[in-house]
């Protein structure tokens, strides 16, 4: 008899409640994620406040700190929880910043090329290729990086002189900032190109034609009219690309050298050959150490930072797009 009630068409309110419950459970799972990560990360904040993020003079060897953490007993003291995270944050800012800026410039230029300048035949081929590139798994980019680019940089670009100049502080093995930024840019640019192209081609052509009719040359028309009109899409593309770059863990772990080192601008060209670590790659590198309380708490604290950064990113993307609402061409 219960089966029969279930088989009759459901009244709306029951369906609504069920669907609402399902949606609520999804929300609950995600909130649980934030809560879990925060709880596991709490000891780090409890023992260090916020100072562990911006320590201006990190100790000579962060690896030493990590080894102390991993060797700490199961009832660690407060002193076991200190770690300076600045080199990792700096590495993340460097790689993400450089990759997004480079990628944005490349994406804008390529999109203008695809939409305005390329013959139709080329466009028909390029757009599916761009979409394919955007969906290539990151481990494949990492594979090409570590098997092709890293040996090239290590064996052909880095000179003995450069190695000597930095000996004692770091070793230049080819796993470097340069390779990381190059591959990261190649990874995030197709996403931006796809989004910007789509937006560019949905701008009513009458807007462009009006500009051309007024005497602007086609490229200028694009700059003056279309690009301004797709600013929300450009912001969305930049935000998406930054989120992808922030979260890229495995590829960076493969090619960045895995050292808690802050590449120093003062080193000139060697700056690009220096190894580094990012927030996400640290989690991958130390993923086995989650059982030791101080090290585990540090990993979760790094994860918390990543979550926080992703959150800040989507909020700022939303805020940047707010004044641009009036330029939206799509509903």
């Amino acid at each position: 008899m219960a089966l029969e009630r279930l088989k009759k068409p459901w009244p709306d309110h029951r369906a609504e409640r069920l669907l609402g419950a399902v949606s609520l459970s999804v929300g609950v799972v995600i909130i649980a994620m934030i809560v879990f990560v925060t709880i596991r990360a709490w000891p780090i904040f409890q023992h260090n406040g916020l100072s562990w993020l911006f320590d201006a003079h990190p100790p000579a060897s962060l690896e030493g700190e990590v080894s102390r953490m991993s060797a700490a007993s199961s009832s660690p003291t407060a002193g076991d929880y200190t770690l300076s995270a600045w080199p990792v944050i700096y590495g993340t800012l460097l790689t993400t910043g450089m990759a997004v800026v480079l990628g944005l410039v490349l994406a804008l230029l390529s999109s203008i090329f695809i939409v305005e300048l390329a013959p139709a035949r080329v466009t028909r081929v390029v757009i599916p290729v761009v979409r394919l590139l955007a969906s290539v798994p990151s481990v494949i980019y990492g594979l090409i990086g570590i098997l092709v680019l890293v040996p090239y940089v290590g064996n052909h670009l880095v000179t003995e002189q450069q190695r000597k100049s930095i000996q004692g502080t770091a070793q230049l093995t080819g796993e470097s900032l340069l390779v990381t930024v190059v591959i990261l840019t190649v990874m995030i640019t197709p996403i931006m190109i796809a989004l910007i192209c789509e937006a560019l081609s949905s701008v009513p052509s009458s807007w462009r034609e009006g500009a051309i009719a007024l005497g602007l040359n086609p490229l200028r028309a694009v700059r003056a009219v279309t690009l301004k009109a797709v600013r929300p899409a450009i912001v969305a593309a930049a935000v998406l690309a930054t989120a992808r770059a922030l979260g890229e863990a495995v590829m960076i772990s493969m090619v960045s050298g895995g050292k808690f080192f802050s590449p120093r601008l003062g080193d000139g060209v060697v700056f690009f050959y220096e190894p580094l670590r990012t927030l996400a790659s640290t989690i991958v590198d130390y993923r086995e150490g989650l059982s030791s309380p101080p090290l585990g708490a540090t990993i979760y604290a790094v994860a918390f930072l990543l979550l926080f950064a992703a959150f800040v990113l989507s909020v700022s993307g939303y805020l940047v797009k707010l004044p641009l609402r009036k330029y939206q061409t799509r509903g």
């Binding site: 070793q171 895995g258 059982s291």
Partner: protein, 275 residues
């Protein structure tokens, strides 16, 4: 009709639940999880595979590798049954039982293009602590030039701890050295760096593709490790929290006493005398 359907579905559900639960209840296969040293991972994996082959359905193994210290932490916290450890017990390991299973030698390795033939103990210490910074002909057989690329292991490695106490007079490796997380990674790093130098267990070092330097005139291989001539010989341990029980005890006993286990150990490593 509906009553029949209802009873049928209830019967099906009950059989389904019983079908899942019964074998699970009757399942007496013990599960032994092992975590720890990357240097003993090949050995322990082979031993576990052989054990399962000889005694099917008794024990199931799950072996991961994260480094000796990770294994020790895991077993202290009760996350795993056995820890693979590649260093001697210290005072911090109270409450844990160490069962030696094999001995291994720590070899100093360089790139194949740089055939360093022999290094004295003093030279090794000076290179790895950063005092000697460049390749020169003073290091017999070295053909590389330029700065020495030192590779070491991350702090959780038992091989590193043993290396420091046996061949580095207790000193630390220079802080600018590149840290590799596992033996496999260390091997690849030295294989691809013409000016590189590192240290590996004899099993990995003698796989080919690397140049193995002698230490103080003694070559680094299984024979010299067994005879006691080679200075850098350490022990692989299986470590449990308190005395080993159940499946873990059976496995460790089997490694200690059985002939097939001895055969596997003797293929690349040095057996320890049975206790």
């Amino acid at each position: 009709m509906n009553a029949i359907r209802r009873r049928l579905s209830v019967a099906l559900a009950v059989t389904g639940v019983l079908g899942v639960a019964a074998p699970a209840a009757a399942n007496a296969t013990a599960l032994v999880t092992i975590s720890g040293a990357t240097s003993s991972y090949p050995l322990v994996s082979l031993l576990a595979a052989k054990y399962v082959k000889l005694h099917p359905h008794k024990i199931r193994f799950k072996i991961t590798q994260g480094g000796t210290t990770v294994g020790l932490n895991d077993v202290k916290a009760g996350h795993v049954t056995i820890a693979d450890v590649a260093q001697e017990p210290t005072s911090a390991d109270a409450g844990l039982d160490f069962y030696p299973i094999a001995k291994y030698a720590i070899c100093v390795v360089t790139n194949k293009s740089n055939p360093v033939s022999n290094l004295t103990a003093a030279q090794i210490t000076s290179i790895f602590t950063g005092k000697t910074k460049e390749w020169s002909s003073a290091l017999s057989g070295a053909t590389a030039t330029g700065p020495i690329n030192v590779f070491t292991r991350t702090s959780v490695a038992g091989v590193l701890t043993s290396f420091k106490s046996l061949l580095l007079e207790g000193k630390s490796v220079v802080s600018s050295a590149t840290e590799e997380a596992t033996e496999g990674l260390m091997r690849q790093a030295v294989e691809s760096a013409p000016t590189g130098i590192g240290f590996l267990s004899n099993y990995q070092a003698n796989k080919g593709g690397l140049n193995v330097a002698s230490v103080g005139g003694v070559a680094c291989n299984q024979t010299t490790a067994a005879s006691g001539q080679y200075p850098g010989v350490s022990v692989f341990f299986e470590v449990t929290k308190g005395p080993a029980t159940g499946g873990a005890a059976a496995f460790i006993n089997w490694i200690d006493k059985s002939a097939p286990a001895k055969k596997i150990i003797e293929s690349q490593w040095v057996p320890v005398p049975a206790s």
